[in-house]
């Protein structure tokens, strides 16, 4: 007899439908698994056999053939266990196969017949809905995550035995609550800007970066607080919308780092500077998401930027420009989402000493700054200083009320709202994502302001790209201030944040 069961495999973070076909017929007892399975799937034979027998079900002593279709796609991971076991049950007539036609399932089996959680349950549920299935059967631990998908019935299955009972209509699972935080549940505590003493310049730059989605370079000596400041950016970004939260959760579920609930916070990733290109943008024989993807819709922090491998920085070109990563392996191309704000940090100069005590020559400075150049620096709109805060300021009782993240976030949300309205229909969501053409059409200048910018451009040798960058940042500054028209002051401030000003020094 023949049975077919639908399940979903992960292609990067995208769900890929796989049909598990099981054929049971008389003959010498064998178990053949075809359809490009990896080692973990081959081993599923042993898990399936033990799980069936330990659940009081029968492992047929017949000629068994299992095919994973489409047969040309490589498949990996233990999430096929459940589909294979259920296929065997249906093909050997132990469960009715009618109930299987409109549902998809995924799960790893333990030898006792219990279901273990799998990676990417949310992705599988989304795939099942898109493919038109009515119902998705997942391990109990994955159910709240899968239930985030609306318009599909999610059943939490504790064990293989329960699943057989369900197919016989002798057991009904409890309805599953989606893993969204309740209205009275306090949001998890994000690090607050108020914890940071001083650093007003960096805080202002962070606010602009958050408001316009601009990438930021922080320059300052070691120990001045660059990492501490960067960690506070997710807390001042607008809270993720439900769609964004789903995207974040999908990525984290596929990478196996999620907590099985809807992500309520934007991710913050801070890989060490020895990270490889693959680690940063994803890769490997079985492509796994890289840090840039794990930071999707959040913040990627790259400390010690000049120490990063050249190849790693170069690999950032595509995600920075397109918000996604493409990885080609053999015949197929995987795509990972990778749209994050990048905060980079570096010292002011190789010797890292402040002001007058710096002994670096122009030659050394030039060499250091040349190491910074590349696709990342081309996409950095803002550069700010993080100076060591004087000890007196650290210990004194601060008279003024420190800036709190909630207040900054409120301003950021308002500024983002203005951008959404203005940029509606352009396919771009924030000022930081505007390209040169869009910048010039979306940032109109009054004649006096435009004339001043033109004069400045000649004096300080502003490149075309630098000019666009200044306009984008000035636009965000005006948005933060709630103004439609740009003032001269916005441009002045934006000018002071620009990065491309060292031609003469580096010559």
């Amino acid at each position: 007899m023949l049975a077919a069961v639908a399940t979903f495999a992960l292609e990067g973070v995208r769900p890929q439908e796989v049909t598990v076909e099981v054929d049971v017929r008389r003959g010498l007892p064998t178990f053949t698994l075809v359809g490009l399975p990896d080692r973990a799937i081959r081993e599923s034979r042993e898990r399936v056999r033990a799980a069936l027998l330990n659940s009081g079900l029968d492992f047929p002593q017949k000629r068994l053939t299992v095919n994973l279709a489409p047969a040309h796609v490589r498949k990996a991971g233990p999430s096929f266990d459940l589909a294979i076991a259920v296929g065997l049950l249906a093909a050997s007539g132990q469960v009715p196969s009618e109930g299987l036609t409109d549902c998809a399932l995924a799960g790893e089996l333990s030898l006792s017949g219990e279901l273990r959680p799998v990676r990417g349950a949310l992705n599988a549920a989304l795939g099942a809905r898109r493919a038109g299935y009515r119902r998705v059967l997942v391990p109990e631990a994955n159910a709240p995550e899968a239930a985030l998908v609306e318009g599909i019935e999610v059943s939490a299955i504790p064990s293989l035995f329960h699943l057989a009972e369900l197919l016989h209509n002798r057991w009904t699972p409890e309805p599953t609550q989606p893993a969204v935080p309740g209205p009275d549940e306090p949001a998890p505590e994000a690090p607050d800007l108020a914890d940071v003493r001083g650093q007003d310049d960096a805080k202002r730059a962070l606010e602009i970066a958050a408001a316009g989605g601009h990438n930021l370079l922080m320059v300052g000596p070691p120990g001045a607080g660059k990492t501490m400041l960067a960690r506070r950016l997710p807390g001042i970004l607008p809270p993720p919308s439900f769609e964004e939260a789903l995207e974040i959760t999908q990525v984290h579920s596929a990478a196996g780092i999620g907590n099985g609930r809807l992500a309520t916070q934007r991710p913050f990733r801070a890989p060490h500077h020895t990270i490889s290109a693959q680690g940063l943008v994803g890769g490997g024989a079985r492509p796994m998401p890289g840090e840039m993807t794990l930071a999707h819709r959040g913040v990627l922090f790259l400390d010690e930027l000049p120490e990063l491998a050249r190849s790693a920085v170069d690999a950032l070109r595509q995600p920075l420009e397109e918000g996604r990563v493409e990885i080609t392996r053999g015949q197929r191309t995987l795509e990972f989402p990778a749209n994050a704000i990048v905060i980079a940090a570096c010292n002011r100069c190789p010797c890292a000493r402040a002001g007058d005590r710096c002994s670096c020559t122009t030659l050394e400075l030039g060499r250091y700054q040349r190491r910074l150049s590349g696709p990342l620096v081309d996409r950095i709109d803002l550069v700010c200083q993080v100076a060591a805060v004087p000890t007196a300021q650290l210990v004194e009782a601060s008279g003024a009320r420190p800036v709190r993240s909630v207040d900054v976030r409120a301003r950021v949300v308002a500024a983002r709202q203005r951008q959404l309205v203005r940029l509606a229909g352009t396919g771009v969501l924030c000022n930081g994502d505007m390209d040169g053409r869009l910048t010039r059409s979306q940032v109109p200048l009054e004649a006096t302001v435009a004339g001043r910018l033109l004069a400045v451009r000649d004096r300080i040798a502003l490149s075309g790209r630098g000019h666009d960058r200044v306009l984008r940042v000035a636009r965000t500054i005006a948005d933060l201030d709630g103004r439609d028209l740009l003032r001269g002051g916005d441009l002045d401030e934006a000018l002071s944040y620009r990065l491309d000003a060292w031609q003469r020094v580096a010559a």
Binding site: R348, G355, D492, E493, L495, W502, R504, V505, A507
Partner: protein, 366 residues
């Protein structure tokens, strides 16, 4: 333009032929070709050729000066010997003037050098941002005032002075240690081309010759000889720039230096020069006063407002001059970070501040 007599050309090519021998004779410690270049032909041969005297004589025998001259003309080179009229008159004051000056670029510049007093700007290859800013501003100011700026096309101060002179619309003159058509250092290719196209690249060695260790101090004497004032921007001690200054002093020309921080190693040479009586330079005007007499010629840009456009910006400018962080400037002036940034951007846009390195500012030289 070729204007050189047979004897002088003969000597120039002989010098190029003997150049590796001279390098061998001088060894690592001594880079100055003491007196060698002043020797007449036969004495020079005796002093340097040694056992290879026969070979060297053979070279002279087979040297076809006319053919060489034709080759130079065909290559578009400039060559003037010390008996020719366009030869810079000031160079005759040298104890060992080069027999022939080869050049690449505009030959008219030689006439300019005869009429206008020139300034030689030299300094370290490892310039600090301060030295770079000052060298650039001096080069630009002098260039704009119509004073030819002589330098050595080296990295650091030399190249920056050329660049400033070009940006100021002046006439740059580069004296190089190689042949005038050899670009050294390679990194200065585009600068070399700009200097050649607007001004003149001069050399003592014929075209195609690579530089030798001894030819750098040798070209320093030409730089010192060409100019009324030799100005050192930043120099360690000892250094090639100090050699140039010494040549200038021996010629009785004016030696000037830009004061530097006493803690900086690249300011030691210039500060020592000042202690020994060199003229301190704190702006283009000082150099112009030295050349033409006090107030006789003013730098075209000196009329520019030195006072910030708004009084509110003065405090920020003062604090920024001290190299303070944005944070410290904001504290000192009682402004918010955003207001401070706007003020800094304005001051930079108006030319009062220049970007120093990653996100820092420095007062623009002038």
């Amino acid at each position: 333009m070729i204007d050189a007599c047979d004897a002088c050309l003969r000597r120039a090519f002989l010098l190029a032929y003997l150049a590796p021998r001279i390098a061998g004779l001088l060894g690592a410690g001594d880079r100055r070709a003491h007196g060698l270049l002043a020797l007449p032909e036969d004495a020079l041969l005796k002093a340097t050729a040694g056992k290879r005297l026969g070979e060297a004589l053979g070279f002279l025998e087979s040297l076809e000066v006319d053919r060489r001259r034709e080759g130079l003309a065909a290559g578009g080179h400039v060559a003037v010997c010390r008996h020719a009229q366009p030869y810079p008159p000031l160079l005759h004051e040298l104890a060992d003037p080069p027999a022939v000056l080869f050049g690449a670029g505009r030959a008219e510049v030689l006439a300019l050098l005869a009429d206008e007093p020139a300034v030689t700007v030299v300094g370290t290859r490892r310039a600090s941002p301060y030295g770079t800013e000052v060298a650039y501003a001096l080069g630009r100011g002098l260039g704009a005032a119509g004073v030819p700026v002589v330098s050595g096309l080296a990295l650091g101060v030399d190249g920056t002075a050329h660049r400033g002179c070009l940006d100021g619309g002046g006439v740059p003159v580069a004296v190089v240690a190689s042949g005038a058509d050899v670009i050294y250092p390679r990194r200065h290719r585009s600068l070399y081309e700009r200097v050649r196209d607007t001004g003149l690249v001069l050399a003592e060695l014929p075209p195609g010759t690579e530089p030798y260790r001894w030819s750098f101090p040798a070209r320093n004497r030409i730089m010192a000889g060409l100019a009324q004032v030799t100005l050192v921007v930043e120099a360690a001690d000892p250094s090639g720039s100090l050699i140039t200054a010494e040549f200038a002093k021996d010629l009785g020309r004016c030696v000037a230096a830009v004061p530097g921080r006493v803690t900086s190693s690249v300011a030691r040479g210039t500060n020592n020069l000042l202690k020994d009586g060199a003229t301190p330079i704190s702006g283009t005007e000082d150099v112009l006063d030295e050349l033409f007499g006090v107030g006789a010629r003013v730098a075209p840009e000196s009329g520019r407002a030195r006072v910030p456009p708004e009084p509110a910006l003065a405090g920020v400018l003062e604090a920024a001059e001290g190299g303070d962080s944005v944070e410290a400037i904001a504290r000192a002036t009682g402004k918010t970070a955003a207001e401070t940034r706007a003020a800094l951007g304005r001051l930079e846009a108006e030319g009062f501040l220049v970007r120093r390195d990653l996100g820092g500012w420095e007062r623009a030289a002038w």
